[in-house]
């Protein structure tokens, strides 16, 4: 029996379906991210797990117990809100103590646990401060301590890092992951930031238009996306519309425009669509060859220096392809130069055809 189980979860607001037929199981101690663009239904899903929204259909169970019938205040779920939602009229210690008070924890025990929680996020020194006298990062830590001190069955994080600047965000990611692993608390993160989701989670659940499209560990989701949407949303990719020419042993030949090349076996859906597929090739999987020696020939139209790597735009008969190369000294190709492009056929991904979103 899974720890947390969402089955057929559906939420409609009048005519609008926010979440449809959502299935997900989360194991104890696991860190799962709900990832998707704004409006994909991830926040509504979180609100239903928290108990702030009632599902239209479907069930939520925690260790087999039905959670839908339980009021939000009795679910024992810790939440870190995007705005942190600290109580502005209470000190840091009072904020953290609030949940323990509601649980009628004795004052001495309460104080001990508050101190413990504040130590966990390195804020012992600021216990007497009011939230408005604190920085964004400090508020974020208070919010985390407040959610963790009640020893929640599940920790929900609603875009918790989106209000921090880039450097602080990275620091907090590491710290958050560390705390989560030490406490072993089952955690669900809602985010639209794919790097954040990949950095933190054991598994990511990619959502699109109210539906769950793929659940997998980050590497698997990135390397083997099930749909065009997942491949485009997770990282950068070269998205081409192609056609399966013929199946071969262990793969097939695809055509994009006039160009043909080898690829792994096509998805089952391709046959129904008359062989139409989406061809996805990650930019970092593309390599340069001398002009005339590539699978496809092109001209480097532009290149952008990004510190640890270069991003090239190469005009080819397939269209403009993105190529990412590690910065290992001087640039490999000059702007305007002719160049051949090649890739390992095993790195090509063929996905069911969808019109461009």
């Amino acid at each position: 029996m899974a720890f947390l189980e969402l089955t057929g979860l559906t939420k409609r607001f009048g005519e609008v379906t926010a979440v449809e037929d959502f299935d997900l199981t989360v194991e104890r101690g696991e860190f799962v991210s709900l990832l998707g663009p704004s409006g994909c239904g991830k926040t509504t899903t979180l609100q239903m797990i928290a108990g702030f929204e009632q599902p239209t259909a479907g069930s939520i169970t925690l260790e087999g117990r039905d959670l839908v019938a339980v009021k939000a205040r009795n679910r024992g779920i810790g939440i870190v809100f995007q705005s942190y939602a600290l109580f502005p009229h209470m000190t840091v210690a009072q904020n953290v103590a609030f949940g323990l008070e509601m649980r009628k924890v004795a004052p001495a025990e309460r104080q001990r646990r508050v101190e413990q929680a504040l130590a966990l996020v390195h804020l012992e020194a600021l216990a007497g401060r009011y939230p408005r006298a604190m920085s964004g990062g400090q508020r974020q830590r208070v919010a985390l301590a407040r959610a963790l001190v009640i020893e929640p069955e599940i920790l929900l994080l609603d875009e918790p890092l989106s209000n921090l600047d880039a450097k602080l965000r990275e620091e907090m990611q590491l710290e958050l992951r560390g705390i989560q692993q030490r406490m072993g608390v089952t955690t669900i993160l809602v985010t639209h930031d794919q790097t954040e989701a990949m950095a933190l989670s054991d598994r990511v659940a990619v959502m699109h238009r109210g539906r769950l499209v793929q659940v997998a560990d980050p590497l698997q989701a990135y390397e083997n996306p099930l749909t065009d949407f997942v491949s485009s949303f997770l990282g950068k990719t070269n998205r081409l519309e192609g056609r399966v020419l013929e199946r071969q042993s262990g793969g097939c030949r695809v055509a994009v425009g006039e160009t043909t090349f080898e690829a792994p076996p096509p998805p089952d859906e391709a046959a129904a669509g008359g062989g139409r597929v989406i061809v996805s090739i990650r930019p970092e999987k593309v390599e340069f060859r001398p002009a005339g020696a590539g699978l496809v020939e092109g001209r480097a139209a532009a290149r952008i220096f990004l510190g640890d790597h270069w991003l090239y735009q190469v005009e080819t008969p397939l269209g403009v392809l993105l190529v990412i190369r590690q910065n290992a000294g001087p640039a490999e190709v000059e702007t305007g130069g002719s160049v051949g492009l090649a890739w390992d056929p095993a790195q090509v991904r063929l996905l069911p055809y969808e019109a461009q979103a």
């Binding site: 009229h89 609030f98 009011y130």
Partner: protein
Amino acid sequence: MPGRFAPWLMSAPALALFVALLLVPLGMTFVLSFHAFGFYTGIETTVDLANYIDVLSDGYFHEIFARTFGIALVTTLLCAAIGTPEAYFLYRMRSRWRSALLLVVIGPLLISVVVRTLGWAILLGNRGVINTALMDLELITRPIKMMYTTGGIVIALVHVMIPFMVIAVWAALHRQDPATEQAAESLGAGPATIFFRVVLPQAMPGVLSGSLIVFSLSASAFATPAILGGRRVKVVSTTVYDEFLNTLNWPLGAAIAMLLLVAVLLVMVSWNRLVERRFAQVFG
């Protein structure tokens, strides 16, 4: 528009009007309050504190001032007790209902106080709507006296003033992060705990500023106590009115009005001090 004096030039017309028709008249009234009045001689331009001594040493005036501020205080407490929860319910309401209810709550602000008070006169009279209904239901045998009582004045004043309280609290509620309520709920707080421990403390600046508005407007209200209290239940403003337009003892009326002005300003200043000291640390 450049130039150091441009802001003053732009404000000059309004400034001229306010100096000529506000500061000068207030100054003249202040001076007037030191003059004397004789029944046959009219206003005498002597200068002494006789009027103030009269008012401050006369039990009759003490009673009037005590009644006025008592009415204002009770009205304020009732407005806070009723207006605060109502503003909260309004704030949580679905937007369609909210617009309609908001119209009902703040719309009456725009309707003449005379008209609204007339409604209360019809409701509260000995043969008014409430007494007639209660007697028809045989709940009472003799009418409850509500006209010409401080109670009647308070009820009508609450009706007149409560929109100010609702507006002030409503504005404060909108400044708070709605997620704080969800946070409290997820930590195990019930609706009452959320209201008293999370919502109300954050809305307190609104409640306090609303209270100040209601108190100062109630203390100087005229139409409502004049219609519902008449000559029998006098307050400061109706007393001033009588001194000016019936007795014609302008200097005494001016002195009473000045005392009212000073009292109201004192309450305002000390209230603001208190509120600032209390909330500077938390909200600032």
